[in-house]
């Protein structure tokens, strides 16, 4: 098991579980009763219908990571746990956001969006709905860029992650 470098407050666990009723409740309940904090959680079936994969971002200031992993491992429905060191994971998150966009500010907004690699999903009379997929840090930065325009509504998925391929960061 990798040991968390101290500069990272959050670690990502990719947890393969049996795709059965109540498994998410078992995982969430374990975090709650052991006092572990979840920063974000994403869950969906894998390519094999029998299993689902959870991407859990854990606040390792709330509990030592190895306690979190060992307690998770005791859940009977948890099949595999991979700890992704932040430096060696490919992480992506999706954000959908509705931003105030009066006609005279739209060019500026679209410029930001293009530079970030996002998309316009819908245009209203004085607002626009945008989407962006990227590493969580880039989503954070883009969110901050949008703030001065006026965020009407925002939803992020929480991150999903896989281990980086050889040497890739």
């Amino acid at each position: 098991m990798n040991v968390a470098a101290p500069e990272y407050r959050y670690h990502t666990l990719v947890v393969t579980v049996e795709n059965k009723a109540g498994v998410l409740a078992r995982v969430a309940g374990l975090f709650a009763r052991r006092g572990f904090n979840i920063e974000s959680l994403a869950v969906a079936p894998t390519d094999d219908d029998l299993f689902s994969r959870l991407t859990i971002v854990v606040d390792i200031e709330s509990a030592p990571l190895d306690q979190v992993v060992k307690q998770l491992d005791k859940l009977v429905n948890v099949v595999e746990i991979r700890e992704l060191h932040p430096g060696y994971a490919v992480e992506r998150e999706l954000m959908i956001v509705t931003v105030e966009a009066e006609p005279h500010r739209r060019d500026e907004l679209v410029e930001h969006l293009d530079r970030a690699g996002g998309k316009v999903l819908s245009v209203g009379t004085d607002s626009m709905m945008l989407s962006l997929v990227g590493p969580p840090k880039r989503i954070d930065e883009f969110e901050n860029l949008l703030r001065p325009f006026g965020i009407v509504e925002l939803q992020r998925t929480g991150r999903v992650a896989l281990a980086a391929l050889d040497g890739e960061h």
């Binding site: 009723a21 109540g22 309940g29 030592p64 306690q67 060992k70 491992d73 009977v76 429905n77 099949v79």
Partner: protein, 580 residues
């Protein structure tokens, strides 16, 4: 049951038979009703309890005494919630139980139907695992999985919730095809028992070099059936042993290397030896707060070897120098093999041994002798009980002062003779646990040491004991108080006693016992103690209750106050001025 099961209810009973279940503790009701019909034709004996909590604790007592999983079966809703305490108790003490609960029919789940509750949701955090079975065909596999999970790795309670329609022969949902071979499907459950040889070698090296080593033995040694291996290890190495509340009897109290129980009410030598040790070898123990006292002052000079079947225990409380995940018996045997091959080292422990014997001489367990006009001394009652009963008597206790005195003053020379609620501290545990133990070990004498507060929580199970023919004996250590709470209020709340006095005269325990079909006695005079115990020992056709009227002012010593370190152990007043 000899015919091939055709429905879920029959399949459930057959699956339990196939697991070797001989006794089932339970109480029927609406949702579980269809399973009680094929039970009539089964080889399994059912014990009808008076409250579902009793069924759970009986299953627990049975498991402690026999080493086999205890099985309870109750209905849905309030029955399921009534057994939650017993499940949580078993979870904290790692007791292998399988609990079957009835559930409302599948179609009614989620509709707030009569006697519906979210049993798997409620019990998720107090079981090792639980199942909601939704297809009659899955019943045999689920039962097999439940027993496997309950009894392997770190044992624990497993609950199987079964909707009524899949066991009701009048409902088409119950149809199933029985096969004798079912495969378990547990892709995420692989308990590891093998121990890492490199860890064992490193541990043996530390043990050889240690000048002040202590073996800190917990309940895991008993769960691993490792008492014999432990004895070999101790005799080979000459290392002293402490046995925690959950491990009393895992190493004989009468052995010269046994220091007895450590912890909040441990004896001075056991507590202090751990504090002063340069090496603690924790075997199936979990550094519980009741053992360590304030953690930042615990055993400051000790290096730690921690061996446990549950990897999550390693490093949970303290970071060990050597952590070994695996079965305690295999680990102890591997250590024995290492010492056989490589010798036990030549560390000089003579100074350590003489310090230990000095503590033992100055600080034995002690209480003020009885004086005329006083009520009985509870410690004396337990000493007489200890001396007048067979060596292999099984003792079950409730929770509180009587539990600590029983653990302190009994002489446990055999494993599996001490049954109590350690982790959860469940008042009322003694009587049902004693019944479960007697049911599993009918040829052994079984005494429950109970308090009067505890007795009033589960005494109704003595009706079960009488009717079902389990002649247990109850030593009621009756001080008319919630004694342990009283002790804390006396010592830490300026003797301001708040809601701890029960009643001197109500209930009349002798009459209550008699009304439940038991022999009832009351003892007020120390001279009557022996005769009462002797008489109780001779009665084997019904349960016995002896109401021992003891002093309310008596306190459990030694004591580590809550929040204090183990250095601040409070000894009895007679030892307070002795040099430590």
């Amino acid at each position: 049951m000899t015919t091939t099961p055709k429905d879920g209810g029959q399949a459930l009973i057959r699956a339990l038979e196939n697991e070797g279940v001989d006794l089932l503790f339970g109480l029927p009701g609406g949702a579980i009703l269809p399973v009680y019909d094929p039970l009539i034709d089964s080889s399994i004996r059912h014990v009808l309890v008076r409250h579902e909590q009793g069924a759970g604790h009986m299953a627990s007592g049975y498991a402690h005494a026999t080493g086999r999983p205890g099985v309870a079966m109750v209905t849905s809703g309030p029955a399921a919630t009534n057994i939650v305490t017993a499940l949580c108790d078993a979870h904290l003490d790692s007791v292998p139980l399988v609990c079957i609960t009835g559930q409302v029919p599948l179609g009614a789940i989620g509709t707030d139907a009569f006697q519906e509750c979210d049993t798997t949701g409620i019990t998720m955090s107090v079981t090792k695992h639980n199942f909601l079975v939704t297809d009659a065909q899955d019943i045999p596999r689920t039962i097999k999985e439940a027993f496997h999970i309950a009894t392997t790795g770190r044992p624990g309670p497993v609950l199987v919730d079964i909707p009524k329609d899949i066991v009701d022969p009048n409902n088409p949902h119950s149809a199933m095809e029985w096969t004798d071979d079912v495969e378990m499907d547990l892709p995420g459950y692989h308990p590891n028992i093998e121990v890492d040889p490199a860890g064992i070698a490193a541990a043996a090296d530390l043990m050889r070099a240690a000048e002040r080593p202590v073996l800190y033995v917990g309940g895991g040694i008993l769960k691993a059936r490792a008492a014999e291996a432990l004895r070999q290890l101790v005799e080979m190495t000459g290392i002293h042993v402490v046995t925690t509340l959950m491990a009393r009897g895992a190493f004989p109290d009468s052995h010269e290397l046994c220091l007895g129980m450590p912890g909040m009410h441990g004896n001075f030598t056991a507590v202090t030896a751990m504090q002063e040790a340069d090496l603690l070898i924790a075997l199936g123990a979990r550094f519980d707060d009741r053992v360590t006292g304030r953690i930042d002052g615990f055993a400051p000079d000790a290096r730690i070897i921690h061996i446990d079947i549950d990897g999550a225990e390693l490093g949970k409380v303290l970071r060990p120098d050597i952590a070994i995940q695996g079965d305690c018996r295999l680990a102890v045997e591997a250590l024995v093999a290492d010492f056989s091959a490589n010798g036990t080292g030549d560390a000089d422990r003579s100074a350590w041994r003489s310090r230990i014997s000095g503590w033992q001489e100055r600080f034995p367990l002690a209480y003020e002798p009885w004086g005329p006009g006083q009520a009985l001394k509870p410690q004396y009652v337990i000493e007489r009980l200890r001396d007048l009963t067979p060596d292999d008597t099984i003792v079950a206790s409730g929770v509180g002062q009587h539990q600590m005195w029983a653990s302190q003053y009994w002489n446990f020379d055999h494993p599996y003779t001490w049954i109590n609620s350690g982790g959860l501290g469940t008042m009322g545990y003694a009587i049902p646990a004693a019944i479960g133990a007697k049911a599993g070990m009918p040829d052994r004498m079984v005494w429950a040491v109970d308090g009067d507060g505890c007795f009033q929580m589960t005494a109704q199970e003595l009706v079960t004991a009488t009717v079902e023919g389990f002649p247990i004996k109850v030593a009621l250590i009756n001080n008319s108080y919630l004694g342990m709470v009283r002790q804390w209020q006396e010592m830490f709340y300026d003797e301001r006693f708040s809601e701890v006095f029960l009643s001197k005269d109500v209930p009349d325990y002798k009459l209550w016992a008699q009304s439940m079909g038991c022999e009832g006695m009351r003892v007020d005079d120390p001279d009557e103690i022996d005769a009462a115990i002797t008489k109780a020992n001779e009665i084997d056709d019904r349960p016995v209750v002896i109401d021992f009227r003891v002093m309310a002012e008596e306190k459990v010593y030694p004591m580590v106050p809550a929040g204090a370190t183990n250095w601040d152990l409070v000894v009895p007043p007679s030892q307070a001025d002795l040099p430590r």
